[in-house]
């Protein structure tokens, strides 16, 4: 499957990752090791410093809620924005800016609270919800356990 739905598959994507926590940093290293151009934005310098040795992209220190920071990350050029800050409201706001202001073709955001999913989907933003993923995994694990018994 093409990494950007409905578009021609490219060899290298320009990907901006907002949030360099456990998820953001791992995804950043994975994608950069696959040859994509990756830019990670975070307001915490220590988080950016902690990126693994394998990471071969760029880091931008700054508040992702500020337009200038997103401009510095060249979000207008990005094929994909991954919005992975720990706060749902911040993610909604940044994801909307990416989609509406910068016209980023594909925006994927993390939402912890499943009740926020509707807000994201109204604006064509794809959502990764750890809560729902955990529910699915637990459900699957229980079904497997049930089959085995």
């Amino acid at each position: 499957m093409a990494i950007i739905k409905g578009t021609v598959k490219k060899k290298e994507y320009y990907i901006v990752i907002i949030g360099c926590g456990r998820l953001g940093s791992r995804i950043a290293s994975l994608l950069s090791s696959q040859g994509h151009s990756v830019v990670v934005v975070d307001r915490d310098e220590d988080a950016l410093q902690a990126l693994s040795y394998e990471f071969s992209g760029f880091t931008i220190l700054g508040e992702a809620t500020e337009l200038d920071t997103l401009k510095n990350a060249k979000l207008d050029k990005a094929d994909i924005a991954l919005v992975l800050s720990p706060d749902d409201n911040t993610n909604i706001m940044i994801a909307l800016v990416a989609k509406e202001y910068f016209s980023t073709p594909r925006v994927i955001a993390r939402a912890y609270d499943p009740s926020n999913l509707e807000v994201f989907s109204q604006f064509g933003i794809e959502i990764i919800c750890p809560t729902l993923l955990a529910v699915e995994s637990i459900k699957e694990a229980l079904e497997i356990a049930g089959d085995e018994s």
Partner: protein, 202 residues
């Protein structure tokens, strides 16, 4: 195989340049400081240098000035997160080939180096042709080709220098203006200084 040097204090950037350029068949060496790069250049000259502006100790602008003073013959592409008009202008005044802002994509690097190598080859080739015409006293044709060179390389000192050569016999004052313009763009162009001096125009 063209040789590429990359000077940047960020390891990630050095690695990205290395990966991208090696995948294109270039031979790559990377340096964290300008001093290290200058030392390597003394031993072996590259075809192109990617250079950051913000570097520890000697900065990128000083590095380019040093390279110009020593009259090394390679192209410099600046890669920087410093994007102020002043920084870009001062870099171009020193005769750099291109200015790429961070963060950049591998494609931007590839396009830039390809363009620089092509442009350098073309500028030198066309300059040689014009100088040959001047030597043969075919001034009209030389002037025509130089005007085209102005259009294609407006940032280069060479079109001014060549126009100075074309004009110096019949219009020494105009020639002097062109030589001064060439020196203003590239103050390392010793030939332009010598020509200006030989004109004896105030």
């Amino acid at each position: 195989m063209p040789i590429v040097y990359a000077v940047d204090d960020e390891m990630n950037v050095r690695r990205l340049i290395r990966q991208t350029m090696e995948s294109e068949g270039y031979e790559v060496d990377t340096f964290a400081t300008a001093e290290e790069a200058l030392e390597a250049i003394q031993t072996r000259q590259p075809d192109v240098v990617f250079c950051d502006i913000t570097l520890p100790a000697m900065d990128g602008i000083e590095f380019i000035k040093t390279v110009n003073e020593k009259a090394y013959d390679f192209r410099i592409i600046v890669i920087s997160s410093v994007t102020s008009v002043e920084a870009v202008r001062s870099a171009f005044r020193l005769g750099i080939c291109d200015f790429i802002t961070k963060p950049f994509t591998p494609q931007e690097l590839k396009d830039s180096i390809e363009q620089c190598l092509k442009s350098e080859e073309s500028l030198q080739k066309r300059s040689r042709e014009i100088r040959k015409l001047v030597d043969q006293k075919k001034y009209h044709r030389a002037a025509q080709l130089t005007r085209k060179l102005f259009f294609d390389y407006p940032e280069s000192a060479f079109p001014h220098f060549l126009m100075g050569l074309v004009e110096k016999r019949d219009h020494p004052k105009t020639a002097a203006k062109h030589f001064r313009a060439a020196i203003a763009i590239d103050d390392t162009l010793k030939e332009a200084e010598a020509e200006l001096k030989s004109l004896g125009v105030e």
